[in-house]
Symmetry: D3
């Protein structure tokens, strides 16, 4: 049996990695599929290509895991790209369980796609991509909560944002006639 | 006893219809009231008038159900338009129960308005307007999860969006000097 | 529309009274029905007759509320004693919401009986008959959390239990040959 | 990959059957294992042997499903009888999710046994063995909520209990000197 | 032991005040810290300075409570401004408990900062800053659900918004050639 | 500020120890109080005295922690033995949060006793005394989930139960005329 692990992975966390590693032992093959939506493109920290690169970097040691992407309904992906596979989702002790069930029932209803749930280890219960992004945006250390590939990408992104802010400040200091914003 | 069934109904789903049909047997009269907020107007898929039209189309077979609208606090509507009526809300097995309770307690506190809850059938547990809109935007089939009036409106909206995108493409193809965006 | 408010009411609490008082304004008639089960009879603090007496005492000021009892499935009672009525249940902010939904779906499935939920006031969120019994058994003051009829009955029961324990002690003191239990 | 579906199955419900049927398509082989505990033996409606018979009757059409039993810790069964298999559990929209997660984490901790969750269809959300037993004990019709094998066994058990009560009454009527219990 | 009570307090509610008043009796000193985020500045109803003024006005009677602000990660604030203090959070009967736990575990993980929870009174279970803002924006009366300082600020803000809308209308009435928007 | 950590501690787990160790850093003094109820005495694995001995053995390294016991309402204990102290309770990611809130509101209502919650580490989320007892009763290894004092006591109890069963078997083998129970 093959499984598809869908998500936005912006970026992949240690919680995702934990679920993926366990799934790689249970299923013959696992496809990590970055779902993208043209309308939400600007809202991500990493581009689709960056997220796939991070995923590839983080899963090289798992021979039966491959990385893919799809822009559309997950049930269409399942029907055409992965017929016969199941959807894989992680469950966290502290998580949006009801939302997960809702999506899974919907995928069963509209696409006859079955979802299988695996628990992440309790130590990753509080880790989510959005919290990782928030902490990293303040320069906080998240290296224990994401795989190396994500940590490196987050550091690069943080350095770029810092450089950008510095450049802006420099530009302002050269235009003294412009009123300095109070805060 | 009369009941008011408030919501944004963008558009009405089979879950809403299930609650409404059960309520029409319990209460003397049920008013489905589309609550609108001038500040959130652009965020809906259907205009206020469209949503009311869909509601009217979906409830013609229920003689003691009427459709209304209000822009303001629900408790003001209850006090001035429906004095003595109760607020009706549906409960889903998989739903935001705590949010429902919070709103209901608030309406009791600020407007002395009582809320009565009825369960939707379990088969609609996973259906919500936002998920319906998401699936329909990809051309997915939602006809089993909404009344006919909603399904027809969703198909029209999807066709319009498709035509718009095609028109945009055509426009681009006539302006070859402009760089074609990748992806 | 009439409503049936089923429960074991061992004894009725201020939370039950709050739900009942609100329901008496919404429904034409409300029947409070003490459900009893021959197999569980010994597990109650008050006998079926005592619980009905307390209920009658607590609801004399509500003219459209009457007290009844039934030993069997609630759906059989609804079908034969209260055809056309709805089941009434209270929802608490801190409560076993999922259990309530499960029972309500079951009653709909096996008996076509509809359930309507009303919220108890937030101040009764933490009150339940079992906690009332626990506190009262230690002589704790529960008079703010139950109607007068329940408070009086709980005091009588506590006094009886005390007298019984004293009588036992006395009996023991007259039988010195019997070894005193250490505790 | 093989899976073990553990439970007390007293008796198996349509919700269990739904999970089992879906699992039989996902896993190479599924073993339904009736866990028994010598200390809790008297608390079941059906004996271990009866429960296994019902299970065998209900799963004859599923060639890759077999029925087994074990008295002990599930992790010991997994380690010695089903090494390399995963534990299978059903998730219901209305259910004790937190308890399921707790057990699954524990089995991972003490026995390195992985648990995989599959959702039962929403229509079985409210069905549990304990509620089935309760309804059947009053002669209620549960045939839509359990497989035929369970329904037949429940009818037999109900008829036996009825006959027993009648015999008791008869015996009493032959002993007029004994005081007839009221109730 | 000192405690830090972090939040956006836009504005402080009676629920916050309840938690704060209880905490002032338990801890030697409590610091209410308005967390601000430069990127989210426009999304608040009150400016940072206004929110701090309201807080100061609402806590003058609590001698061991002081008001502070920080723009950054809470764990950095705890480490540098309040070493040795604990984080204080309120729990509501109807609330986002899982989110609270997630944040608290994260703060423990990335900053070794401990969180202590205190319950708000049940009567504030349904009160949140966002709902207060929503009601006040329609001119609803929230004076029972916020301290005086918040109520006064909300009335001022509502009056300003009203004046602004009136000024806009006036401007439109002077430009009759412009088509009046229907609604 | 002093805190009282009440419970049945049958026996104390690593989750309890985690909460206790954190609390000992936050509060001036922590009293671990074994609540006992004469009516429930037979239902425990360890006697009151054994549970207190295990607690003392597990907390010798915590100088500001002491062990006590009380048979009655917690609020009476707080009022007479620990006036001015707060009640301390642990919160688990996977736990009965609503029950905890209910008890805490009740203690505030009937005894004006305040409860403060601290989270156990996520790794103890699935550990409870009842599960520990269940696993240990089958001879499972729980040494990673309880302090040494509990593990030693559980092993002794398991050995005693084993010896008792062996003695019973021996007795049976000497009475061949008695029919051997099948199982």
């Amino acid at each position: 049996m093959n499984a598809v692990f869908p998500g936005s992975f912006d970026p992949i966390t240690s919680g995702h990695m934990d679920v993926l590693t366990r799934a790689a032992k249970i299923f013959d093959r696992v496809t990590v599929t970055v779902m993208h939506n043209a309308r939400k493109q600007g809202r991500h920290l990493f581009t689709l290509e960056e997220r796939m690169d991070i995923l590839r970097g983080a899963t090289t040691h798992l021979p039966n895991v491959r990385v893919d992407t799809f822009g559309g309904l997950l049930v269409d992906y399942m029907a055409h790209q992965e017929p016969g596979s199941v959807i894989l989702r992680g469950l966290r002790a502290v998580s949006d369980y009801e939302y997960e069930l809702q999506i899974a029932h919907l995928n069963r209803q509209i696409g006859d796609a079955e979802t299988v749930f695996i628990m992440a280890a309790t130590r990753w219960s509080f880790v989510s991509s959005s919290m990782i992004r928030e902490i990293a945006s303040y320069g906080g250390d998240v290296s224990e909560m994401v795989p190396r590939a994500s940590a490196a990408a987050l550091r690069r992104r943080h350095a770029e944002a810092y450089a950008e802010r510095e450049a802006e400040k420099h530009e302002h200091s050269e235009t003294p006639q412009r009123e300095q914003p109070g805060h």
